[in-house]
C-alpha cells in the first residue's frame, strides 16, 4: 500500500508533556507501522474547543481554526488535515462547514486572517485519525499488520460523544457506533457490549461541575465492569482523561473500587503491531495497564 501523507493537527492536549502525550506517542508509533506520514502543521494553534463558546464568540472561534487551515494549506498543500483529538476535529470541521456556507463569515475571517498575514483559498478536508484508519486504510489493511493479536483481552469500546456526534464516522449510527469495537476486534481483542458506549463523560464540566461529571463517569465505568471489560478504550483525549484520572475521587465519593485502565485505540494497535510498552506510551497511563505491560514484555 502506498504511503499516505497528512497534515497533522495534534492539538493542545496531545503535545509532549501535556495531558494526552501518551496518545501522541502511540499514534506516532502506530503510524510508523502503518506507513502513514504525519507532518505537524507548523505553528498550529488551539481550536477553541467546545467550551470556549461563552467567551470566544462566533467569529474569533472560527478565525482561530481558519488560521490552522491557512497554515496547513500554505505549508502542506493538498493534504487532508488529520486530528487525533475529538474536540479539535469537531471544532475545526464545524468551522470549515460554517465558513463554506456563509460568505459573510468567510469574508470577515479573511479580513482577520490578513492581520496575521494569512489567507484561505480552499479549506482542506478535516479528518479524525479514526476516519483515516477506517476509510483510507480499511480494517483488512489494519489487520494485515497485526503481529501479536490481543487475544483473550476484554475491552469496553468507549466512543463517547465528539468523534460520534454531530458528524461521526461515515455509515455509523449516532446511538450505537460499531467502529471502535471493530478496531478492537481487528487487533484481536474482544469488544464487550455495554449500554454506556456513547454516554457523555461530562466533557469540560469535569472541571466546572465535577460532581455531575463524575456521576456520569461512574455509570460508564460501572457498566464496563458489569459487562466484563478489563480495560476501556477510547478515541478521545478528554474522554480518556476524565474516565481515567477521576477514578480515585469517584471511589472516595461513592465508595467504589474502580481501578480500570483507560487506553487509546492507538495504544492497542501499537502493541498488536509488535510495539513496546514505551512505543505505546503505556507509561503515560495513570491507572497502569499491567496486563498490557506484561503482554508487551512477552
Amino acid at each position: 500500500m502506498a504511503r499516505k501523507e497528512y497534515a497533522f493537527y495534534p492539538g493542545c492536549s496531545s503535545q509532549m508533556g501535556a495531558s494526552a502525550s501518551n496518545y501522541l506517542v502511540s499514534v506516532e508509533s502506530m503510524c510508523r507501522h502503518l506507513d502513514i506520514k504525519l507532518t505537524e502543521i507548523p505553528d498550529w494553534n488551539c481550536c477553541g474547543a467546545s467550551i470556549s463558546y461563552a467567551e470566544s464568540g462566533e467569529l474569533p472561534r472560527h478565525v482561530m481554526n481558519a488560521r490552522n487551515f491557512a497554515l496547513s494549506e500554505t505549508n502542506l498543500p493538498g493534504q487532508d488535515i488529520v486530528a487525533t483529538c475529538a474536540a479539535c476535529w469537531l471544532g475545526a470541521r464545524e468551522s470549515k462547514e460554517r465558513l463554506e456556507n456563509s460568505d459573510r463569515l468567510m469574508a470577515d475571517t479573511q479580513t482577520a486572517l490578513k492581520e496575521a498575514g494569512l489567507s484561505i483559498k480552499a479549506i482542506p478536508e478535516i479528518r479524525h485519525m479514526a476516519e483515516v484508519l477506517i476509510e483510507d486504510l480499511g480494517y483488512a489493511e489494519l489487520q494485515r499488520h497485526v503481529k501479536k493479536p490481543l487475544e483473550g483481552m476484554k475491552f469496553a469500546g468507549y466512543v463517547g460523544c465528539q468523534t460520534n456526534r454531530p458528524f461521526g464516522i461515515a455509515g455509523e449510527s449516532f446511538e450505537n457506533p460499531m467502529y471502535l469495537d471493530k478496531l478492537i476486534e481487528t487487533v484481536g481483542g474482544e469488544a464487550v457490549p455495554y449500554d454506556q458506549k456513547v454516554t457523555c463523560c461530562g466533557g469540560a464540566l469535569a472541571f466546572s461541575e465535577p460532581e455531575k461529571s463524575q456521576a456520569q463517569i461512574k455509570d460508564i465505568i460501572e457498566s464496563a465492569y458489569d459487562n466484563g471489560a478489563e480495560m476501556i478504550v477510547t478515541p478521545c483525549p478528554l474522554c480518556q482523561a476524565n474516565v481515567e484520572v477521576y477514578q480515585g475521587q469517584i471511589n472516595k465519593r461513592y465508595g467504589t473500587k474502580f481501578d480500570i485502565p483507560v487506553l487509546y485505540y492507538s495504544q492497542l494497535m501499537t502493541l498488536a503491531y509488535g510495539g513496546t510498552a514505551k512505543d505505546a506510551g503505556l507509561n503515560g497511563n495513570v491507572v497502569r495497564a499491567r496486563k498490557l505491560e506484561e503482554f508487551a514484555a512477552k
Binding site: Q15, I51, Y53, A54, V63, M64, D108, E115, Q216, G248
Partner: protein, 213 residues
C-alpha cells in the same frame, strides 16, 4: 445592567425573539422548535438536579419574551457539548450550538454570575488558549482553582493533588508550565492582531457598541 445590555434591551424593545435571532449564534433556529421535549430528555445533565430550564423550555421562554428569565438562566451552562440533542432533534435544530449561542449572548450582556463555574471555565479557557495560542493546562487548572480566592484554591489544589501527581508521574503534566514555560505558538503577535480584528468585526456584525461596555 451593563451598558451593552441596556443598548440591546432598548433596541429590541419587547421583541426578545428577534433579539436572540440577530444576536445569538444560531438564534434563528429558536422559532423552529415544536416543543416535543426530545432535547431535554436526551441531555446527559438533565438527570442531575440544579438547573432551571432545559433547552426546549428556554426556546419557549424566548418566544414568550421572557428576557430576564432567559439571560439569567443557568440552563445553557449545563451543556457538555455531547450533541445528543443536536443529532436527535426532529426539526433538525442544532440545539447544542443554539444553547452555546444564547449562553455567549447572556454572558456578553453581563449575566450569569461570575460564580457560574462553567461560564468561568469558558472564560479562563479562551483567555488561556489565546494568550499563548495553545492551552497551558497548568495555568488553566490554577486559575480554575483560585477563582474563589487563594484559600479555596489551595484547598482545591490539595483535593486534586492525587490527580495532578498521577499526571506528573505519567509525564502528562509539566509543572514548569506554571511559569509560562512550555507550549506556545511562535507568531503570537499575529494571532493577537488577528483576534483583535475578529472581535472588532464581530461587534460590528452584531451592531454592538463595545466601546461603552
Amino acid at each position: 445592567m451593563s451598558d451593552l445590555n441596556q443598548q440591546m434591551a432598548e433596541r429590541y424593545k419587547n421583541n426578545f425573539l428577534k433579539e436572540i435571532e440577530e444576536q445569538a449564534e444560531m438564534g434563528e433556529w429558536v422559532k423552529m422548535c415544536m416543543q416535543c421535549g426530545l432535547c431535554s430528555g436526551s441531555c446527559p445533565t438533565h438527570f442531575h438536579s440544579g438547573w432551571d430550564h432545559p433547552p426546549q423550555e428556554i426556546f419557549m421562554l424566548i418566544r414568550a419574551g421572557k428576557r430576564e428569565e432567559v439571560l439569567n438562566s443557568n440552563g445553557m451552562y449545563m451543556c457538555t457539548s455531547c450533541y445528543n440533542c443536536y443529532v436527535r432533534c426532529p426539526r433538525k435544530v442544532p440545539v447544542t450550538h443554539v444553547m452555546h449561542g444564547i449562553a455567549e449572548y447572556a454572558y456578553k450582556m453581563g449575566r450569569a454570575a461570575k460564580a457560574q463555574p462553567t461560564m468561568h471555565l469558558s472564560k479562563v479557557f479562551w483567555t488561556n488558549a489565546t494568550k499563548y495560542g495553545r492551552v497551558n493546562e497548568v495555568q488553566l487548572t490554577q486559575s480554575l482553582y483560585f477563582k474563589d480566592g487563594l484559600a479555596a484554591g489551595i484547598k482545591k489544589g490539595l483535593e486534586m493533588k492525587d490527580v495532578a501527581l498521577g499526571l506528573v508521574k505519567a509525564k502528562r503534566l509539566n509543572p514548569l508550565e506554571a511559569l509560562g514555560i512550555g507550549h506556545k505558538c511562535k507568531d503570537l503577535d499575529g494571532i493577537h492582531r488577528m483576534l483583535a480584528k475578529a472581535y472588532e468585526l464581530e461587534a460590528q456584525r452584531k451592531g454592538r457598541d463595545t466601546s461603552k461596555a
